[in-house]
Symmetry: C2
């Protein structure tokens, strides 16, 4: 049997035919075309899924299920996506819509959850039973695997780790609360700190690096300079790592997983980030005499969405 | 079959013979006598366990297991209690020590975990599959039940929810970190705020209530005055509820349980506390359109330790 995995983002819809070990047999993509509305997008997902199966040399009879990773939340009780900002979706009956094109079981879950599942099947957390995948991107997302299965809680709202408050009364978050972890541990947090630095100290190396265009500041620009030892950017990096570790330690105190996997844009800083996190973590872990989760970098990057979505049906 | 449940605290060792539905058939207690060392304490536990079985009209042949709740952590891999401050235990081989007195299976877990299990068998969370029990006492402890079973994580250090950081850079905690939830959500937090109030405003109603003895300030004294509308104590109470709700919301965003059960000293404030928490919670929940955990007060209070310990072996 094989599986169809579909990874939907604001820019593209990617689909893959995936075997039961998480190997992609064939993959293909098309633009998302958010402005077209959900019906056209879901039609494309179904079409693309069928195409990759055919091009992989298999038939639809051999497909066990279709899995979809979305940049939003799925209400598993109703089969409806209440909201998904990047796709401009609001109360989209995704399962019912898929029924127009297929009778196969369709599984839908959050993209961070799906990426976490992929890592636990075929990536850095393969072979473990419990892991937490943390995406450090525009926001902070989480994918929690427990007992080898996706953990979504009693109402499907678990693993919203980016909105765990770590700085009560801190920065205002888009969700309306103050001090959510993602205000401090996302790529956006690094960008904001970098922009503020440029605004307050126009002669800094970061301002040079972005040729005086504050809006051009990226997390990568800040991290690259930190890595060269630039004092201002090192300070931003150290503050970032502190807040990242505070949240990771909370996850250890709460989920106590075997592995924490760091993914998303900031994780591309690689060992520079990983070593800093690993160096600080022991200071914040509660039970210093007990073993605790190892922290690793995600390995699947681009294919994680397809693989994980496919594995939802395994 | 029946079960022996033993609840060990700094002051007393309580034991009960408990049936499979969590009903106490007979219970008895003796002083803990911390100064005697662990061997004498564990001998008393075994003796007391045998006594309650006999007095309940049963024989040891009918006992399926012995469960023990301790105010500390148990390393389930080694059978050793690494530390348990209130009992002055350090690296105590509790399972090996029990072998001197019995061949029955012995299960040991943290007292908050045990109380959470008790509530889920016979208390306010009975009938649910996932719940988080939060003890609001000297510290903040947690007992997490998932899929009807005690959740202890991969290394046995899960559910240390009191040491989840909610105020990064905040008050220094006994664990060495800053801003742990229990610094803000425990009974001790209310006491500290009350003492500070008395120190800074000696003419306040709280100072009157404790007859000028700042050290006599209790959480109950503060909460009682808040309930009568005293402005100073209401401010302390509101700040307390805010920090409590911040952490509860984190638990909802992370565990997404069916029920959160509030226990421990502060929970004796009853509906005054519960109503304030329930009123503030919706403001902080991330997915406002999705259902989330209901918050309830613990119901078993004194017997939770015996019942939950017994049910560890069920």
């Amino acid at each position: 049997m094989i599986y169809i995995g579909i990874d939907v983002g604001g820019m593209s819809i990617k689909a893959g035919a995936v075997d039961e070990n998480g190997n992609i047999l064939y993959k293909q993509s098309c633009p998302t075309g958010v402005e077209r509305g959900y019906a056209a997008m879901i039609q494309d997902m179904a079409r693309l899924g069928a195409e990759v199966v055919e091009k992989s040399g298999h038939t639809m009879d051999e497909v066990k299920s279709i899995g979809v990773g979305i940049p939003g939340i799925m209400d598993q009780r109703t089969g409806i996506v209440p909201f998904c900002t990047n796709l401009a979706w609001h109360d989209v009956p995704i399962l019912r819509e898929f029924r127009r094109y297929t009778d196969l079981p369709v599984y839908v879950d959050n993209d961070a959850t799906v990426a976490g599942l992929a890592e636990s099947v075929k990536g850095v957390s393969a072979g473990t039973k419990s892991s937490v995948f943390v995406t450090l991107g525009t926001g902070v997302g989480g994918g929690v695997i427990m007992d080898g299965k996706v953990f979504s809680g009693s109402h499907g709202v678990a693993s919203e780790i980016g909105h765990m408050v770590t700085v009560a009364g801190g920065h205002l978050c888009t969700c309306g609360k103050r001090g959510c972890w993602e205000r401090y541990a996302s790529a956006s947090a690094i960008i904001r700190a970098g922009r503020l630095l440029c605004a307050e100290k126009p002669g800094c190396a970061l301002m040079d690096a972005v040729r005086g265009d504050i809006r051009a500041v990226t997390a990568k620009a800040v991290l690259d300079l930190a890595q060269t030892g630039d004092e201002d950017c090192t300070r931003i990096f150290e503050d970032y790592v502190y807040h990242l570790v505070v949240g990771l330690t909370n996850l250890i105190n709460i989920y106590d997983p075997e592995v924490i996997v760091l993914g998303g844009g900031v994780s591309h800083a690689g060992d520079f980030l990983l070593n800093a996190v690993r160096a600080l973590l022991p200071k914040y872990v509660f039970f210093k005499s007990m073993p605790y989760a190892r922290v690793e970098l995600a390995t699947l990057t681009n294919d994680a969405g397809i693989i994980g979505a496919a594995m939802l049906g395994r």
